[in-house]
Symmetry: C2
């Protein structure tokens, strides 16, 4: 008997046709599809742990999951077998063995999300599943000025609810917009996020871009610690979980 080994996988998915990452009693979920694929390969139920429970419609290029499975062949063959059994909107882009105590959520030191806005009069036919269309011109410089007040450790109660417990303090290491033609890309990295925090921040910053909120009002909203003060969350389909970082990755990077 091959003893079970713990694996860490990087997962890319198109969130369009999922009810979200987390398994539910009915409906198509990312976790559910991966567990189905693993069960076929392992011949027994395998539970996976994920780094972030992305909402319905939210995409990922860098979701991280972990699971224990007994596999007697090469690592690359396990990745091949998983991808062969997964639907086309989920792809395992990296697979490695990890220590048995590795947990994608609890071991993570930071998460990075990207939100993409298409800022032109007409929507996109080709990218309609992956960008949020904003037709009125928005002021990117003002949105960047407003993003700066989010940097550092703050109580983000105005921008989301905690997924569990009551602590609403989070540390934002990086937040800012870049412009690539008519595409506006918001990148944000934090130790962790509250529920719908990125989308609520983006919704609020877009109000600044439209001139409906002043730059300094974003700091006031943050200080208010009141979810009713922020704007409605921007739609799910513009959001993508791009990276989850672990202590071992930092060491690996230093070693290079």
């Amino acid at each position: 008997m091959t003893p079970p080994q713990r694996y860490r996988a990087t997962v890319e998915y198109d969130g369009t046709d999922f009810l979200g990452y987390q398994i539910q009693t009915t409906g198509r979920t990312v976790q559910g599809e991966i567990e189905k694929s693993l069960q076929k390969i392992a011949g027994a139920a395998v539970r996976i742990d994920g780094a972030g429970r992305t909402d319905a419609g939210v995409h990922a290029t860098g979701q991280v999951i972990a699971f224990n499975v007994a596999w007697k062949h090469a690592l690359i063959d396990l990745q091949q077998a998983l991808n062969a059994n997964l639907p086309r909107d989920i792809v395992i882009t990296d697979l490695k063995t990890v220590n048995i105590d590795f947990h994608p959520r609890f071991s993570a030191v930071s998460r990075s999300y990207q939100y993409t806005v298409l800022n032109r009069p007409w929507p996109s036919a080709l990218e309609r599943r992956h960008v949020y269309h904003v037709k009125e011109p928005v002021a990117v410089a003002a949105m960047n000025d407003a993003s700066r007040c989010l940097l550092g450790s703050h109580n983000f109660a105005s921008f989301g609810k905690p997924p569990q417990g009551e602590v609403t303090i989070r540390e934002v290491m990086q937040a800012g917009w870049s412009q690539h033609g008519d595409r506006l890309v918001f990148m944000i990295t934090a130790n962790a996020f509250l529920y719908r925090m990125v989308r609520t921040i983006v919704g609020t910053l877009l109000e600044v871009g439209r001139g409906r909120l002043a730059v300094e009002e974003v700091g006031q909203i943050l200080e208010a610690r009141d979810l009713t003060r922020s704007a409605a969350p921007a739609p799910a389909h513009g959001l993508c979980l791009v990276r989850v970082t672990y202590p071992e990755d930092a060491q690996a990077e230093i070693a290079c």
Copy 2:
């Protein structure tokens, strides 16, 4: 009565769910959907002319169409009405009035196509509809060397059949690959293209990239004027019609 006016429109579409550009007796086509939308707006059947009859699965960001319609409101309102009536995978991104003798196909001086290859071990969940996945590493420099022999006026009978008539001579003004991480993008501009010419060129150049064809063999295939000598066409979903150029555009650019 408002007299009919001729309009030129730039069209973006996601070719995934179409049987192609050209209208057919049954099945969903780009032309069919646009004509349906125009009929709703104009209250009568409107025939559109298109610049290029893209195949099933081929995308466009710069398809050009023209049609005659009597419209008494502002130009922007016609574009708005068209987009409101079109399905989400077709978008009119530009609309202007043109002379009655403008024809998107016969007036065009050149067409540009883009073909995108994802060159990494695993496919993409997010871009699976718009990139062709090639898992074995390909040599981009060799593919670029081979592209060079396509430049200029040649008989391209080895790379496609004429859509009508028998002339297989075409003039390629620009052809080359660029690399953006694991994305390889082929851009080609010609006065006109034979049926499946871009996909057959890409299929053949990828054989060079894989080392299965020598660079100089591409020139030999071209000279053979024999369709059986080239490789199978690369799949439709990597291809996108990005630009059609007209004499009036060149003048407009000079004027700027």
